[in-house]
Subunit: 337 residues, 2 copies
């Protein structure tokens, strides 16, 4: 099950409400959603790959993934965060394949080493087959405050699913430093493996409101969707679920959280510099290749050029793109959002 | 006589070979050529205003100056610097008005105070009527190395034409500092007043090759133009001419030599910021108003947005735009020049 939803403010102006991050070729060549699909093909045939998308993105998803089985596209009438979306997808899968083991994969990150990815998934799938709800997590290499963390009951491993003791929301810098040092924590990569029946059982127990609303929606009550509480699957289900385990994913995972991360990730895959003239600007990067972009005497500046908007920002300030989006909202420039 | 020629590299990407600096609204509202025309209207009626332009710009000039008398558009078959162009214009004027006093005005600068400008021109015109070749010059306020200087035989004045002792090409910084200190120098503004017959007499004496070639061209020998030596009027004629005088022009003259100068000059006349979002970027400026341009955390950056090219450069590096143009030439990107 690939998650194709999500909003798009951190990659403005390339990302917009109707074209969020996962539709962008942030690794330099391929839209992240397509890369996620291709990784999934190493685990399953197309008829076993499902995609959940909010209604306003459904057409774009089908256009981008021509091999998808139309029956496998699960449409959320409106985005209500991951718990309802994943519950709906698992209900749909379980309806056709009651014994299925499901892998849930966001489509807004980069994984550099697909072989190691596949290996970790196989480890996780084995544990899931035995009834665990398995999270994939990446070992922290810095005290990041922008991720959720998994506290493991014993040191995490790539070759075995260890018990998860606790889910920790984005920590402050001091806690993040302690987590990094302890060696017992993983960054929560938002990828999960479980038997569909086991997951739905835990949803019913930990989040009965979601279970009920999604169940009614799935049975044909269109209005029920709006009654599903908005919540992330981590918060609503995983924190309270039984038999939660984690496998370390050591496969070059990168959440590509900003333009500078995109510059780092695409590396040698950067589009030709035919349309960039960089003079005395080491570390400068240009995204967008229609117009010529010339940069003079501005090291480490990032320029993003699109049809109707241009962003100029130094590396290190990429997170402030959301301030631009806020300003545009205040000015009522909906056509640019 | 307005000079409408000139190339356009310092204002790339807004200026191009086919749309040089004087066609741009660098003061924020009006193309410099149109502003020059309007200033001329304070001195003369439209039928007394002549324009010299190279052939490839003639149509653009007529489009921009709809009130021009077509008989007053003097076309150079190809640009050969100012001496042939001004000689040709003065020959054309003298042919119809043998007694004319001519004022020669470049169209690539800004003059903030038209009233003082008119006053200075009247002072210069009086001296020209008595047979002098009169230069207008601006008192230096910094040791600029990018201008030619006029060394006056006595302290320059706004209300009287004083003798010019010498023309000095762009000096180095040390000489420029001495010139500034001495109080005897003016920046050569490239504006002249003289009786057409007196100027042509000096051209015949100081630059006989130009006088002959332009004379033959004016008499109908199309090929003669190519034989006129390329030279500036300062170098070819004024340095050697007799009875050369200068009037100080104290009228907010600015040659607008770079994008940062354009930012300074347009000041409050800057177009609405509807299409610029500047976050923590004091002193940043955006030129071009079609697309939205967002700048974050980059004080004093200048962004120039055009249909097919974008320039990003900090204030202080505006002169390096020519390096971009050179790079594009080397890459054979003629469509962007």
């Amino acid at each position: 099950v690939l998650l194709a939803g999500g909003s798009g403010t951190r990659f403005w102006p390339a990302s917009r409400a109707a074209r969020p991050k996962q539709f962008l070729p942030l690794d330099g060549k391929t839209p992240l959603l397509v890369s996620t699909w291709r990784r999934a093909l190493r685990l399953a045939s197309p008829e076993s790959i499902w995609v959940v998308a909010p209604a306003h993105l459904a057409k774009a998803v089908t256009a981008m993934l021509p091999d998808i089985d139309p029956a496998n596209l699960v449409v959320e009438p409106s985005p209500r965060d991951t718990a309802p979306a994943i519950t709906l997808a698992c209900a749909a899968v379980a309806d056709r394949f009651p014994d299925a083991t499901v892998g849930v994969f966001p489509s807004d990150h980069v994984i550099r080493d697909s072989t190691r990815f596949v290996r970790a998934i196989r480890v996780a799938a084995a544990a899931a087959g035995e009834g665990a709800l398995v999270c994939l997590g990446t070992r922290p290499n810095r005290p990041a405050t922008g991720f959720g963390y998994l506290r493991c009951g014993e040191p995490p491993r790539t070759d075995r699913a260890v018990p998860v003791a606790r889910f920790v929301e984005k920590p402050d810098a001091a806690r993040a430093a302690r987590f990094l040092k302890s060696g017992q924590y993983l960054w929560n990569a938002g990828m999960f493996l479980w038997r569909a029946d086991r997951f739905l059982e835990e949803v019913r127990r930990t989040a009965p409101g979601i279970h009920r609303a999604v169940g009614r929606f799935f049975s044909g009550d269109e209005n029920a969707w709006q009654r599903a509480p908005r919540a992330s699957v981590d918060f609503a289900v995983m924190e309270k679920a039984r038999n939660v385990r984690a496998v370390e994913l050591d496969a070059g995972w990168d959440d590509v959280g900003s333009w500078e991360a995109a510059a780092r990730v695409r590396g040698a895959a950067a589009p030709s510099t035919r349309n960039a003239v960089l003079i005395d600007s080491p570390g400068a990067e240009v995204f967008g290749s229609e117009r010529l972009v010339a940069v003079v005497d501005l090291p480490d500046v990032l320029v993003v050029d699109t049809d109707d908007a241009i962003l100029v920002v130094p590396r290190g300030s990429g997170q402030r793109v959301k301030d631009v989006v806020e300003r545009l909202k205040k000015r009522g420039r909906k056509e640019l959002l």
